[in-house]
Amino acid sequence: MSGTSYDAKEYWKANLRLILGSLIIWALVSFGFGILLRPALAGFAVGGADLGFWFAQQGCALTFIALIFHYAWRMNKLDKKFGVDEE
């Protein structure tokens, strides 16, 4: 292993930070925009419905795709940076 154990600890911390950030957005669009905050977003019309409705039916799935690809891309970079990637 080229990285030291200090590197490994930092890598894991960076991973946890990334997961935390992603899960905050994950919860915000679904439980937030899609359910609890829907009344607050009622003013934003989306084709015959409101923004909260759109998030619940379509926006969440699209956001989730973006979150996973972003995570995979960032983790691949972190794997290399900390020298824990697969040869």
Binding site: G34, I35, G48, Q57, Q58, A61, I65, L67, M75, E87
Partner: protein, 589 residues
């Protein structure tokens, strides 16, 4: 050519394709059988996960559920997609790095306990068996509608096909047939949706058409739909729900339940690298979203189409008379999935919400004596091509697509079941010295037995078959997901903590479900009626899995704190699953 002949060609052709793939992808080793040799490309794996995940329920029933429930059914859309975020970040890459064949194997090794492994096997078997019954029954229904055989014969044909490619090819055969099945099911789902969207809105993309203008009225499609259905007393399609807390918890339960379902998790063991496990979660969700974004569009458009068929001059005018009903209504009446009773004997078909007290005066004024047309939710997708007047080959395609959805999920579940039996029970507990060849044979025999059991249960569904959602997702959410996650993210959780956590999460969830649904789902043994007034804080038994997960986390944490910390080699194991370097291909020992 008759519709029957077209259906036979499409269904028969797709079956021949699956069998050809199975012969090409015959499993030569346990590694082939359990993890498809470990060399599946992440995009291919994403497609296979899509087919594995999208069951007969997703393909056939989901649009119907959304058509009836509108906004409140968003729970399924958010829950069943949100689970993949959890899989991608909290489970899949690390379990892939661990590099073994089954989910219980990780739990057994990480918590250095055979009992933990056995508890995990038990959870896996209950969740997967419940789930597979629904798939087999779904395949039987699709057969009986499109191939004019009775449901039991249909079920047996389906079982024989699955038997050929799953027993012969194991995970390897299943993977490549799932890729083919994904293609069949997504094409079948999308084509009628595109045509209906074009007819109603002029937009070829259904997901966008749903939010654009309805050509006939010039109003936004959803505004038009809300008008039409509320005018005859139904709840508006976009109406908010009363109980936000319950909706949040149900969504969360579906999310963590999805992430904890073993037949989905094992698909991530088939890719060559940890990085591929992350990518394939993303691709899986892309392929799943293609259907899940279309489903609400199909739901809203089909509902509007149905209402315009019944009330051609608008809901304020008289509905059509029964003699002039369209051809597709006649076709589906034969199956009993559409039923007409002329309650006020005027020969017209009145469709309205007769359970809405506020609408009763209006109904009486119009001389209506109850809703006269009962439409089974499941026909929305199946009848879609006929409602939109599409050619016969589209109907054949839908038949092949519905069967692809049911068979691909059934095969994935059967593999999870058989590998738990041959690898976690036989190889680990009963006969550890079994040879590679012997284990492969044992895996094939367990697969065959699993298929026979599933077919029998599909033909004679027990009372709890309809409770799949509550049971499978509740168990996966309350027992498997938290335990797997703690195994990766905590070094402190030890064997006793994990077992105590799993059992208490499971006991809590099952007790809550049984109190309302009956003990072991035996009718009449429930302690309280299953209605919102009786639920604690309005939390339905479907939503309780995520609270069971919290119980699991809390108990495991407290018990582990009070007992000895895990040995050093286990802490090193946890350390090693966190870093991708050194991930060989999956192996069994």
């Amino acid at each position: 050519m008759s519709q029957f002949a077209i259906n036979i060609i499409f269904v028969g052709g797709s079956f021949l394709l699956y069998i050809a793939i199975a012969i090409w992808a015959k499993a030569g080793s346990t590694k082939d059988f359990y993890v498809a040799g470990g060399g599946v490309h992440p995009v291919m794996n994403g497609m296979a996960i899509g087919a594995d995940w999208m069951s007969a329920a997703s393909f056939i029933s989901m649009a119907g559920i959304i058509a009836a429930g509108g906004y409140s059914a968003s729970t399924y859309l958010m829950g069943w997609t949100g689970g993949y975020v959890l899989l991608a970040m909290l489970l899949a890459p690390y379990l892939r790095k661990f590099g073994k064949f089954t989910v219980p194997q990780f739990i057994g090794d990480r918590f250095y306990s055979k009992s933990a492994r056995l508890v995990a096997v038990l959870c896996l078997l209950v969740a997967s068996l419940t789930y597979v019954i629904g798939q087999m029954a779904g395949a039987g229904v699709a057969f009986s509608r499109f191939l004019e055989v009775d449901a039991t014969t249909g079920l047996i044909i389906a079982a024989v096909v699955v038997f050929i490619y799953a027993v012969l090819g194991g995970m390897k055969g299943i993977t490549y047939t799932q890729v083919a099945q994904y293609c069949v099911l997504i094409i079948a789902y999308t084509i009628p949706a595109v045509f209906i969207s074009l007819q109603l809105t002029g937009n070829p993309i259904p997901a966008l058409g749903m939010f654009s203008t309805h050509l006939d009225s010039g109003l936004p499609l959803l505004t038009k739909l809300n008008q039409v259905i509320t005018d005859v007393g139904f709840t508006s399609f976009t109406a908010d729900v009363d109980n936000h807390l319950n909706m949040v918890l149900f969504t969360l339960t579906l999310m963590i339940g999805t992430a904890g379902l073993p037949h989905v998790i094992i698909r991530f063991f088939t890719v060559p690298k940890v990085a591929d496990a992350r990518w394939s979660a993303g691709w899986a969700l892309v392929f799943i979203a293609l259907l899940y974004l279309t489903a609400p569009a199909v739901a809203s458009m089909a509902r509007l189409n149905l209402m315009s068929t019944i009330y051609p001059d608008g809901v304020a005018e008289a509905p059509i008379d029964y003699e002039h009903r369209p051809e597709w209504v006649k076709n589906w009446e034969v199956t009993g999935l559409i039923q007409f009773t002329d309650k006020n004997e005027d020969g017209l078909i009145q469709v309205y919400n007769d359970k809405n007290a506020a609408f009763t005066p209006e109904a009486e004024k119009r001389g209506w004596k109850g809703n006269e047309l009962v439409v089974n939710q499941d026909i929305l997708v199946l009848a879609n091509p006929e409602i939109a007047n599409l050619p016969g080959w589209v109907i054949g395609l839908i038949a092949a697509g519905g069967l692809a959805a049911a068979l691909s999920t059934a095969a994935g579940l059967l593999l999870a079941i058989s590998s738990a039996v041959s690898h976690d029970l036989i190889k680990s507990s009963i006969n550890p010295n079994i040879s590679e060849k012997g284990e492969l044979k044992a895996a094939r025999i367990s697969m065959a037995v699993a298929i026979i059991v599933a077919t029998w249960l599909g033909a004679n569904p027990p009372g709890f078959a309809a409770q799949v959602v509550a049971l499978a997702f509740g168990i996966a959410a309350a027992s498997l997901f938290p335990t797997l996650m703690m195994g990766i993210f905590s070094k402190r959780i030890n064997n006793v903590g994990a077992i105590a956590g799993m059992l208490s999460g499971l006991a809590f969830t099952l007790t809550y479900i049984f109190i309302y649904k009956g003990w072991f789902f035996i009718a009449g043994t429930n302690n309280l009626p299953d209605t919102a007034d009786n639920w604690v804080l309005g939390i339905s038994p479907l939503s309780v899995g995520c609270i069971g997960a919290l119980v699991n986390f809390a108990v495991a944490f407290v018990v582990a704190r009070a007992t000895k910390e895990p040995p050093v080699e286990i802490q090193n194991l946890v350390e090693s699953v966190r870093y991708p370097r050194g991930a060989g291909e999956a192996h069994g020992h």
